[in-house]
């Protein structure tokens, strides 16, 4: 079978949902696919109260934000169709994609596509890093917060960014002993509120340390740690062993970008945005005029900015088909204003830097 739509949205996380909601609200015919059984993307495992702008959901748990977006989708189902358990597996030719559901493979033809595929977790180089019992932070959250199963009894956390700190706290809530958080940098990466929360519960945060190797043969039984000097070199004779039955890696995410490469979008490497991202302008349009990007796929950031980027992409994708619209323009202006305030201040330094480089690349292109 083949399906036809005006705006095709790939990914049902905060970015894709927001793009789809806005485009449908403006009147476009929208089809959204997500490869999970439920909508919400990363949000469905986030039990903590959000950091972010207070106008947009700070202090609300991620799972509640997902529910809110889902209700908005429901309200627009007249022209917004959702297919769950369905992956966009390939972009072919011009305006054609293949989608795979458990029982069928179909072709989708579209005018514009908004790709909000999110990100994949990074691993880290150390001996035995493939042992059973070593999990990404997202995997730990999925297992624990979605399926109600602890990853183990005693866990070592690697990485003290917000994700490492938040997941450590969630592990404690679930009754898992967190034996410590290892951080290569000389200072804690995440917000201090999150760090003090777990410190108060007795979890040591070992800055200037790294993991040398995981111990065990058929599964993790411990880890060998050591101190690092100010040039990130291992300091000899500082190795020590810790006992644990699992290790959680919270060492960052990389944008999920294979679809952009298939669509022949020009890619750029910007470390501040998480690595390779599709080159895109302030309207979230890539170098392939049919293709828009939003959320972590456009640069690793947070759910609030993913929502705003998604709203811009949805509004601009609509306008590029139906012509200028005052309502769409207002959505974009409001989103840009909010983005500016979210990215202000020292915590937004890296992102502003990355975004700045992106606009230089666009100007040169």
């Amino acid at each position: 079978m083949s399906r036809q739509t005006e705006i095709f949205v790939v990914g049902g996380g905060p970015a894709g949902l927001s793009a789809a909601i806005v485009a449908a609200e403006l009147g476009a015919k929208v089809l959204l696919v997500d490869d999970n059984a439920t909508l919400g993307g990363q949000l469905i495992k986030q039990t903590h109260r959000f950091f972010g702008s207070s106008a947009r959901d700070a202090g609300i748990r991620g799972i509640a934000i997902a529910e809110k977006l889902c209700q908005e989708v429901q309200a627009r189902k007249k022209n917004l169709q959702v297919l769950l358990n369905t992956s966009a597996v390939g972009f072919y030719g011009d305006g054609e994609a293949g989608i795979l559901s458990p029982d069928r493979y179909e072709k989708v033809t579209y005018e514009r596509v908004v790709v909000g595929t999110g990100a994949v977790e990074n691993s880290l180089n150390f001996e035995n890093n493939d042992l059973p019992g070593i999990y990404g932070a997202g995997a730990v959250q999925t297992l624990m917060n979605v399926h109600g199963i602890r990853p183990g009894h005693k866990i070592l956390m690697v990485g003290s960014g917000n994700i490492g700190l938040i997941v450590s706290y969630q592990l404690l809530q679930a009754g898992v002993q967190v034996i410590g958080v290892v951080e290569a940098m000389p200072t804690i990466g995440g917000y201090l509120v999150h760090a003090s929360k777990i410190r108060r519960l007795g979890v040591p945060i070992m800055t200037g340390h790294t993991i040398v190797k995981a111990l065990g043969t058929d599964g993790v039984t411990g880890a060998l740690l050591c101190r690092l000097d100010d040039k990130f070199q291992r300091i000899p004779n500082t190795e020590f062993e810790v006992a644990c039955d699992c290790i959680c890696l919270a060492v960052g995410l990389s944008p999920l970008i294979d679809l952009f490469q298939q669509a022949k979008c020009k890619m750029v490497y910007i470390p501040e945005l998480g690595g390779l991202v599709p080159l895109h302008d302030g309207n979230m349009r890539t170098t392939n005029p049919r293709v828009y990007v939003a959320g972590d796929a456009s640069g690793i950031e947070e759910a609030t900015t993913a929502i705003l980027g998604g709203r811009i992409a949805g509004a601009r994708a609509y306008e590029s088909i139906h012509g200028p619209s005052a309502t769409a323009q207002k959505i974009v202006d409001d989103a840009n204003l909010e983005l500016k305030s979210l990215r202000a201040g020292s915590t937004g330094d890296r992102i502003r830097w990355g975004r700045e480089r992106l606009s230089q690349e666009i100007a040169a292109c």
């Binding site: 490869d35 999970n36 039990t47 748990r61 994949v120 977790e121 691993s123 493939d130 042992l131 059973p132 019992g133 070593i134 999990y135 990404g136 997202g138 995997a139 999925t142 297992l143 624990m144 917060n145 399926h147 109600g148 199963i149 602890r150 990853p151 183990g152 009894h153 809530q173 679930a174 009754g175 043969t217 058929d218 599964g219 999920l256």
Partner: protein
């Protein structure tokens, strides 16, 4: 302490009905609809396959169907991603060696 969370300060977990399945011939219990890898993990099993070249032990890593670390033989189908395949009653799950053998 069991790995299943019975009480959580924020969350409640909706479970499918209890079912039995086999893992390398042994009978195990899990809940219908949860990922096979999750049911195995709760039963204390985390070695899911051996890598093709160096025969190294592998478990799941990403739990969202992205990394292929969790591939096993399920009902005779090799390379099944068990972290996203829902458990059903009577499933026959086997540890996978290397790339597995595709049966005609």
């Amino acid at each position: 302490m069991s790995l299943r969370i019975e009480e959580h300060p924020i969350l409640t977990f909706k479970k499918g009905k209890k079912v039995t399945f086999t893992f390398d011939g042994k009978k195990l219990e899990g809940f219908e609809g949860e990922p096979i890898a999750a049911a195995l993990h709760a039963a204390g099993i985390r070695l899911l396959r051996h890598s093709p070249h160096k025969n190294r032990a592998r478990g799941f890593f990403c739990a969202i169907g992205r990394c292929s670390s969790c591939m096993m033989e399920v009902n005779g189908v090799v390379n099944t991603m068990t972290c996203i395949t829902p458990l059903a009653a009577g499933m026959d799950v086997k540890t996978q060696k290397g790339h597995g053998v595709i049966k005609p």
